[in-house]
């Protein structure tokens, strides 16, 4: 017969600052009942402690030991009724995604951008009917969720982040705010929705999932892969991939058909000569160093720039070179040509840097969305773009992911890094099906520079490949 944990003390599990605290078990009992134990002894509070996200596992384990009478003081969430004021009917693929997730209410739904992940999540939230926290990568997206929830349910959701701290049963926040505040909020929400959930596995951001006791978790993303290979953490923190839709499958159906047109610009002779002389500076330096150290490479150079002014000069030359590529004046001329070509159609320009975005904004006097824009200005620019009072806007990475941009069928990508995910997300912005039917993506790169190499890397992704008939 099994011995009881500790005779007289009652067994209580509480939520304490992002962790679970268990009283009433001694070490022997922990070993006996838990084996692979998440529990650690805390001498400060004389209790066992575990990350809050083990909560479901703790409940399951106690369910297997019916003889133990335990008090569960963790949940501070309540059941709520969610009015369905304006819910759209789900398409077949959205419904399938929702069903796949609903089996266990834990897992990641992978759908290309623009296929209505938000709708899926809104239905999941309504079905769960409990305290819910929606976590998104940036402020814009957080406000966008706020608007979507309001429109669909009439609920004015709480906001945590961007200087606001208004907690209510349905709440929106950002990854950074969630990670900071989860020790205080971790038992108030039974469902967590992680939008663009590939952002979660950062070392600090993980706490947004770890320090929450929520048994139900929904991750949404178009691109679960991370370059650092941390995507397996999503399995642990949210749950397995429960539904995957490839971008190829979505193309042409929900998303607009699109063409990719790549255009090269050449550096002006002045830019070219500066570019080449800077290139020589870098090459000569590496050449000289390789006389002594044959395997001298870029990384060593970066390290050396700490103590060697010449290495530092080479590095600055390299950075200047990149900036010349990025801001080549001819890019502005091509943009002008495209504006002419698409006069009367809304156009959005994506830039690789804030500096270039400002160059474009000042040259054409069109609004630019940069990270410094305050909420009101962003909303004003977006709504002005939507209602047609602005013919075109320019953005840097701010708009990379998720921000709704209706009726855009012409996008111009200028420069930018080679990250596959970045390019894919950018594509997602243009690919929305709109009244024009087809979408057009232009990519402007600088000929005979590293800009071109980066562009080739981008194209390797299947989103850029021609549609197979």
């Amino acid at each position: 017969m099994a011995t009881y944990p500790v005779g007289t003390m009652s067994v209580i599990v509480t939520f304490d600052q992002g962790t679970l605290s268990l009283q009433g078990f001694d070490r022997a009992a922990i070993n006996q009942y838990w084996g692979e134990s998440p529990w650690n002894w805390d001498p400060r509070t004389k209790s066992w402690r575990a990350d809050a996200f083990f909560y479901q596992e703790v409940i399951d384990q106690f369910a297997r030991m019916p003889a133990i009478d335990w008090a569960d003081e963790v949940p501070d969430w309540k059941a709520i009724t969610i009015p369905t004021r304006r819910f759209n009917t789900l398409r077949v693929d959205q419904l399938e995604a929702l069903n796949c997730w609903s089996h266990s209410r834990r897992g990641v739904v992978v759908m290309p951008t623009g296929t209505g992940k938000t709708e899926v999540a809104l239905h999941a939230i309504r079905d769960a009917a409990c305290g819910t926290l929606v976590v998104s990568p940036v402020r814009d997206l957080m406000y966008q969720w706020h608007d979507r929830i309001l429109a669909a349910t009439g609920i004015n959701a709480g906001i945590i982040g961007d200087g606001v701290h208004r907690v209510s049963p349905i709440c929106v926040t950002t990854y950074d705010s969630a990670a900071i505040h989860m020790p205080r909020l971790g038992n108030q929400f039974k469902l967590l929705v992680f939008d663009e959930c590939h952002h979660l596995p950062g070392p600090m951001r993980q706490d947004a999932a770890r320090m929450s006791a929520a048994p139900w978790r929904l991750g949404l993303t178009a691109t679960p892969e991370r370059r650092d290979g941390r995507d397996s953490l999503l399995d642990e923190l949210i749950g397995p991939k429960v539904y995957v839709q490839a971008i190829q499958a979505a193309r042409g159906k929900t998303l607009a058909d699109y063409d990719v047109v790549r255009m090269s610009v050449h550096l002006s002779s002045e830019e070219r000569s500066r570019y080449e002389s800077l290139g020589k500076t870098v090459q000569n330096y590496i050449y000289e160093r390789r006389k002594e150290t044959p395997d001298y490479d870029w990384q060593t150079l970066c390290g050396d720039s700490g103590h060697d002014p010449q290495a530092r000069a080479a590095m600055i030359a390299f950075q200047t070179k990149r900036s010349i590529e990025d801001r080549a004046s001819d890019k502005l001329r091509i943009i002008e040509d495209l504006f002419r070509l698409h006069a009367g159609e809304p156009v959005i320009v994506f830039c690789g840097s804030n500096a270039m975005a400002r160059d474009v904004s000042i040259r054409f006097l069109i609004p630019c969305l940069l990270s410094h824009c305050r909420k009101r200005e962003r909303q004003q620019i977006l709504s002005g773009f939507k209602d047609g009072s602005y013919p075109a806007i320019v953005a840097n990475r701010v708009l990379d992911e998720g921000v709704d941009l209706p009726e855009v069928n012409v996008a111009i990508v200028v420069g930018g890094g080679s990250g596959t995910r970045q390019a894919l997300q950018r594509l997602g912005r243009v690919l929305r099906k709109n009244r024009f039917g087809r979408a057009c993506l232009y990519e402007i790169v600088t000929a005979d520079t590293r800009d071109e190499i980066r562009s080739r890397a981008r194209r390797r992704n299947d989103a850029y490949r021609p549609k197979s008939k």
Binding site: Q17, T19, F339
Partner: protein, 410 residues
């Protein structure tokens, strides 16, 4: 505090130590002159943009043999922190942008040379907008992004900061930023242990305490620290450091997670020459501050007030009441103020009070709206609405001393 991108830490794998960047007089004497020059750059460039000023700093440091990029960035950050920039808080740049984009929209696209299809050329359009606003275009362009950090203009350069002061701040800041990676910290303290504990509390660190000979040994960390190694409380250690540096007679060891999750130690004592500048905030809250002020203005019948004068400890737990009230004849009463806090905090407080109520004479001042949340602990209490008045406390003390309610004081 610095960002990670401005932080320089050297990891010694053989000795398993981490050494934050440090500019010593002996090895880096030439930096004193440089630091003064950097401050002079700021003083010379009032009204210029942050970008231009940083460029000037970079140019000055470019050819210094041993000045890594991160050190340059750290100097810029510390000098910026000691300066004041115009940040366009009224939002006039955003308003200007909106105006201009609205005026330009009907002319889109602005082309280089107008033709039959597009008759708005860039130059003409800009001139007409400038005329409409009555501001020259060059000035419009200069003001258009005045709210972007790089384009903030310097208003006040570092005041009361000399080269030595800058280097001292640099050294502290680098040690702070190394602590971002800390998972735990141990401090061995002597006489100043109360003050040290207070600074740790202000930085929101948890602690456990033990005696080791003459030393109080504090282990500082956070709730999740027993569950896993976490850098979550790293910023709290960094915030705590200047306070620690301002006290005496201690040594500290922090464990930090470095490259490849190896553990490294940072060791420091009060004799290592780092100087902490603490804005001495005597009180944790406005409430305490106002109470202390009202004490000054009240006739207190011989009672004196001291801030956190007494520490009680039992085993691993410490209790530091907010104030110590002392009377020549009647002895000591410890005053603990309980304002509005989370339920968990109150629960913990009750446990702590239960534990320590027989160690000393304690008087509680409890906010009226949470009065019900604190059960009767057999500890005298007063309640207050929004501010706690000295008069109330003095009256209660008198009552506690009156024969009918006299406790064994002193």
């Amino acid at each position: 505090m610095l960002t990670k991108e401005q932080s320089i830490v050297e990891y010694d794998f053989s000795r398993q130590t981490a050494v934050p960047d440090r500019l010593h007089q002996k090895t880096h004497g030439h930096y004193l002159g440089i630091a003064n020059e950097l401050i002079a750059i700021y003083h010379k460039r009032i009204g210029e943009t942050r970008q231009a000023i940083h460029q000037a700093v970079r140019r000055r440091l470019q050819d210094v043999e041993d000045c890594p990029t991160r050190r340059i960035a750290a100097f810029c950050k510390l000098l910026d922190d000691a300066s004041e920039y115009l940040r366009d808080e009224s939002g006039s740049a955003a308003k200007l942008r909106r105006r201009i984009h609205a005026l330009a929209a009907p002319m889109h696209p602005l082309v280089q040379r107008s033709d039959a299809l597009f008759d708005h050329d860039e130059f003409q359009a800009k001139q007409s907008i400038a005329a409409e606003l009555g501001i020259p275009w060059e000035e419009i362009e200069a003001r258009l992004f005045a709210d972007v950090i790089e384009f903030h203009r310097l208003k006040t350069p570092p005041d009361e900061l000399d080269g030595g002061g800058l280097l001292s701040r640099y050294n502290v800041a680098q040690t702070q930023s190394a602590l971002y990676g800390a998972t735990t910290m141990t401090v061995w303290a002597k006489d100043d242990f109360k003050l040290i504990l207070r600074y740790a509390k202000l930085a929101r660190l948890m602690h456990s305490i033990a005696r080791q000979g003459d030393d109080y040994v504090f282990q500082f960390n956070g709730p999740a620290s027993v569950v896993r190694q976490t850098k979550r409380y790293g910023v709290a250690y960094a915030r705590f450091l200047p306070g620690l540096l301002s006290t005496h007679d201690w040594r500290m060891k922090a464990t930090i997670l470095g490259p490849a999750n190896h553990r490294f130690a940072i060791r420091l004592t009060d004799r290592d020459g780092l100087r902490g500048e603490v804005v001495s905030e005597a009180f944790d809250s406005e409430l305490e501050k106002m109470f202390a002020a009202s004490w000054e203005e009240t006739e207190t019948n011989g009672w004196t007030l001291r801030r956190e004068g007494t520490v009680l400890h039992e085993g691993q737990t410490v209790f530091m009441p907010d104030f110590t009230l002392r009377h020549e004849v009647h002895g000591e009463v410890l005053l603990e103020i309980i304002g509005f806090w989370t339920p968990e905090y109150l629960k913990e407080k009750v446990v702590r009070l239960e534990r320590f109520k027989d160690h000393a004479n304690i008087l509680l001042a409890i906010a009226a709206r949470i009065d019900d949340a604190i059960p009767d602990l057999n500890i005298p209490r007063v309640t207050y609405k929004t501010t706690l008045k000295a008069k109330q406390i003095v009256a209660k003390l008198e009552l506690m001393l009156s024969p009918c309610d006299r406790r064994s004081l002193g």
